[in-house]
């Protein structure tokens, strides 16, 4: 449990070479005012952890700290520009997938530049290999890694505009103020930023120091703001991947194999299908047969008509049952409990889950003999660019990768499967293509959160908890999207043993028990099965924390303690205790409820943030059995409350949105949504099979409380709520029914739908839409 020796103190630390509010940047030679930033190595200083449980790695140095450390050397390569039209522009090297990152970045610039939000244009940067590890959107790290560099760049720009006006007017800069995109002199003279932008441009690169506002001076940061893209969203103007028009890029879809990652042996009727209406091209690719046509509808017709002989994929013999047996066999033994101690032993199973967004995976590719251009929603575009160039046999610089805003991600866009496939198809057809996976492809062949089993043993004597052990055994999660490179690059500086796998490193950097439970160990063990997997929002935490909190409730019951009172006593983190107290008070913990309705609570700290979730679940038969056509009803979370401490809040409205989304995910994970694997393929093929939370599952009373700031830096927030909310729903269900669930989601044992056939891979669209108008 080594401390990160020689860990550099960051700008948020009390010590270190840089004063808290002074940062360095550069004015760079450009036709208009442009600023780039550089600042000292960023890594959170080690935080003191309470005894008696010694700190686990995550508490002193977490995944986000590692990402900050890896990103720091290239932070100097991101720039803010002020244009002659009075607007500011920033191409952020991150992906926007609904989490509100672009709005938060615009707020940071607005704050330090004194420019209204609607004059700030935030776009997504193309893949920029020179950024190395600083172009990965994941681990809820965006706010944490760009909060200081973006503000620094904006502050330098503001200072330069002031200095330029002072020079032009022959007055001291101290007599000038800024506001609303204008520089003002005490004598009444004013100039807009737009009028000053070109004069403020630098002819050479100059090092400058910026003074940032302190949080007490903030007028934008910390205030509730609507999303900067909201107008485009509600008018249908927001452009997603398949909305883009690239010349010649016609609709393209793929007929896929009946097992995950199967391959083509032969296509028996390619010539006949090529003659179908609208079809222009057919090509055999790595995992299927691609068809390009005038419309996606004609692609569906054509891929359904193809007669293909398949070779099975690597997990063709696997089903839920076989995977679970392999996980159980691989589970490491638990340590022997201390003599005389009582123990609680529990084991929890979590089914495969899909990280598919609503927008099906898609990409546009225009591959020529000497170059390629790609458009796709990519959270790690540099890795995509490098991999696609290698597959196409082109130099990396010949491949331009544009990052498109995504209709959700939830982990899916960490990988570039659709972009690589579009490139392969475009190269083989010799034409530009607009590839979309079908909905069914997304569930059946898309990446999944793998099945896992979490075993917990807790040993106690009287009111002393002596040991807490958690052994998390999971089907392998694929991290081959750049975090691997990041870990290799920073390995020597990580406070975890050097010989661990990437997955184990990520597990160690994201998991820690928040309780004083004596000797605490949480270990990951992976079973290498070649499912197509990846991170799903909050990675391991939803499963690990759900198991932990259910056992905490059992332990409290064994000691005859109330669940909230018990947690208060054993929590070692003051911030967690504070959010729990607030939740218990605001959620009226312990209020009388009818039989079959109960409250549940869950707490979790991660990404340097802390959350308590308190829910009420209604498990009465009249609720569980209410009829919804083609939908799963079941127990309903009738009330939900999330209390969040996000360190320093950037946009409370956006933070609230992320908490609400986390609760919806949690309800789905606990109660309704999973993939059933049968003979190498998930049975789920649409949203009436994969039961993500719908309106009829939504709490009628959903409330978020944002705690006052507890720090000077923002925590991660996009994933923060999922784990504690999942735990709260599970604990509430256990209390309402009197039976602790051990398999999730609770309805996984019953297949609540008739699966689409496995072939052809995409079902035909209905024709009876006019019979269902309302």
């Amino acid at each position: 449990m080594a401390e990160p020796s020689g860990s550099p103190s960051g700008p948020d630390g009390a010590s270190g070479g840089l004063d808290r509010r002074h940062f360095l940047g550069y004015l760079v030679a450009a036709p208009t005012l442009a600023v780039v930033v550089q600042y000292g190595p960023a890594a959170a200083r080690p935080q003191a952890a309470a005894a008696p449980s010694p700190p686990q790695p995550e508490e002193i140095f977490d995944l986000g700290d590692m990402q900050n450390l890896a990103a720091a050397p290239t932070s100097g390569l991101i720039s803010v520009q002020v244009r002659p039209d009075g607007t500011a522009a920033f191409a952020v090297p991150r992906a926007e997938v609904g989490q509100g990152m672009t709005t938060a970045v615009a707020m940071m610039i607005a704050e330090e530049l004194d420019l209204p939000l609607d004059k700030i244009h935030v776009t997504l940067a193309d893949a920029r290999p020179e950024l190395l590890m600083n172009q990965l959107t994941g681990g809820s790290n965006s706010m944490r890694s760009i909060y200081l560099p973006v503000r620094t760049a904006a502050a330098i720009a503001r200072q330069r505009l002031v200095a330029t006006a002072a020079r032009q007017w022959g007055v001291p800069a101290a007599e000038l103020t800024t506001g609303n995109g204008t520089v003002k002199h005490t004598g009444g003279r004013t100039a807009t930023y737009g009028a000053l932008a070109e004069a403020a441009a630098s002819s050479k690169t100059i090092k400058v120091e910026a003074q940032l506002k302190s949080p007490s001076e903030f007028t934008v940061l910390g205030t509730p703001q609507g999303r900067i893209d909201a107008y485009d969203s509600v008018t249908g103007r927001k452009k997603f991947g398949t909305d883009l028009r690239v010349p010649g890029a016609k609709p393209t879809m793929v007929r896929r194999p009946p097992t995950i990652n199967g391959t083509v042996v032969a296509v028996r009727n390619a010539d006949a299908v090529r003659k179908m209406p609208g079809v222009t091209d057919i090509a055999v690719i790595q995992h299927g047969v691609a068809v390009r046509a005038e419309t996606f509808g004609q692609c569906v017709d054509a891929i359904r008509a193809l007669d293909v002989e398949w070779s099975p994929g690597p997990v063709a013999r696997e089903s839920d049952r076989t995977v679970l047996a392999k996980l159980k066999k691989a589970m490491p033994p638990m340590a022997l409990p201390p003599l005389l101690a009582k123990t609680i032993d529990e084991e929890f199973t979590f089914a495969f889950a899909s990280n598919s967004p609503l927008e099906p995976d898609n990409a546009i590719a225009d591959v020529r003999s000497d170059r390629a251009e790609i458009w796709s929603c990519l959270k790690v575009p540099i890795v995509a660019q490098e991999d696609i160039a290698r597959r196409l046999g082109l130099p990396r610089d010949a491949v331009t990768v544009h990052v498109v805003e995504g209709g959700g991600s939830f982990g899916r866009h960490l990988f570039h499967d659709a972009a690589a496939e579009a490139a392969e198809i475009s190269q083989k057809m010799g034409k530009p293509v607009k590839l979309s996976w079908s909905r069914t492809d997304n569930f059946r062949q898309g990446r999944t959160h793998p099945m896992c089993v979490s075993r917990v043993r807790v040993a106690y004597l009287g009111s002393n908890v002596l040991a807490y052990e958690q052994r998390h055994t999971s089907t392998e999660t694929d991290f081959g999207h750049g975090l691997g490179e990041m870990i290799s690059a920073t390995a020597a500086r990580l406070p975890v043993a050097g010989n661990q796998s990437i997955a184990q490193t990520i597990f160690a950097l994201t998991q820690s028990s928040p309780y004083n439970f004596g000797v605490t160990t949480q270990l990951l063990n992976e079973v290498p099965l070649k499912f197509s997997t990846g991170s799903m929002r909050n990675i391991y935490s939803p499963n690990v924390v759900c198991a932990q909190e259910l056992v905490v409730d059992r332990l409290a019951a064994a000691m005859d303690k109330d669940p909230v009172e018990f947690r208060r006593k054993y929590l070692k983190d003051e911030r967690l205790r504070a959010v729990l107290d607030r939740a218990a008070e605001a959620g009226q913990w312990g209020r009388p409820l009818p039989k079959g309705v109960a409250q549940g609570v869950g707490v979790h700290a991660e990404y340097r943030g802390a959350v308590a979730a308190l829910v009420e679940i209604d498990c009465r038969p009249e609720t569980v059995n209410r009829p919804i056509e083609d939908g799963v009803t079941g127990p309903r979370v009738s009330k939900a409350l999330i209390v969040v401490d996000a360190g320093l809040v950037i946009n409370p409205r956006g933070l609230e949105a992320q908490m609400i989304g986390g609760m919806s995910d949690a309800i789905a994970l606990a109660l309704t949504s999973s993939l059933h694997i049968k003979d190498g393929l998930p049975l789920e093929g649409s949203w009436d099979d994969y039961f993500y939370t719908r309106q009829w599952n939504t709490p009628l009373d959903m409330r978020v409380i944002v705690m006052p700031n507890t720090g000077n830096t923002p925590s991660g927030a996009g994933e923060l709520a999922v784990a504690p909310a999942f735990a709260a729903v599970a604990c509430a269900y256990a209390r309402a029914t009197g039976t602790m669930p051990t398999s999730f989601p609770i309805n996984h044992g019953t297949l609540g739908f008739e699966p689409f056939p496995v072939e052809p891979s995409t079902p035909q669209s209905p024709t009876d839409g006019l019979d269902h108008t309302f």
């Binding site: 509600v234 249908g236 997603f240 609709p251 609503l358 979309s436 909905r439 083609d630 024709t767 839409g769």
Partner: protein, 158 residues
């Protein structure tokens, strides 16, 4: 190739394509009207929800040959013009509640919301939680509670 004529967002359009091509693809791929989204093509996710003669429907589930020349199709792009404003009151409510996260489902959600309010009014009542529970539109970002708040608010402004 057959031609198909219908009213789209207040204008008559004619398009040449096969009879069985679903209206969604006629709108998106041939006419470039991309507000209605493809989320499933199975009449399930409701991301393509638009209006036909003032009623909500899924263009992914209707062959273009079933659309008559007099049929008035309204997509999200044409919704404000139905009330002669820059934004429909439901869209304004959506902005005030900052409903959207990724935004992908939002055009369909708003078109459903407007039709759901009309449906309640036709039944002689205001929209209720039971009505909202019937909405099938998927929002994978899970912003359902803000959708509910915005619909109740938008209904008052309609």
């Amino acid at each position: 190739m057959p031609t198909h004529t219908f009213q789209l967002n207040g204008k008559q359009v004619t398009v040449e394509t096969e009879d069985d091509v679903r209206l969604l693809w006629v709108l998106r791929d041939l006419l470039g009207v991309t507000g209605p989204k493809y989320g499933c093509g199975l009449g399930v996710c409701q991301a393509c929800t638009s209006h036909i003669n003032g009623r909500a429907f899924n263009p992914c589930s209707v062959p273009v040959s079933k659309i008559k020349p007099t049929d008035e199709i309204t997509t999200i792009e044409g919704l404000p013009a139905t009330v002669g404003r820059e934004l429909h009151p439901m869209q304004e409510a959506w902005l005030d509640h900052d409903v959207a996260q990724c935004g992908f489902c939002q055009p369909g959600q708003i078109m459903t919301a407007v039709a759901k309010v009309w449906q309640a009014w036709e039944a002689g009542r205001e929209i209720t939680d039971a009505d909202l529970d019937e909405i099938r539109n998927v929002c994978r970002c899970g912003t359902y509670s803000r959708i509910r708040d915005a619909i109740k608010d938008g209904a008052k402004r309609m």
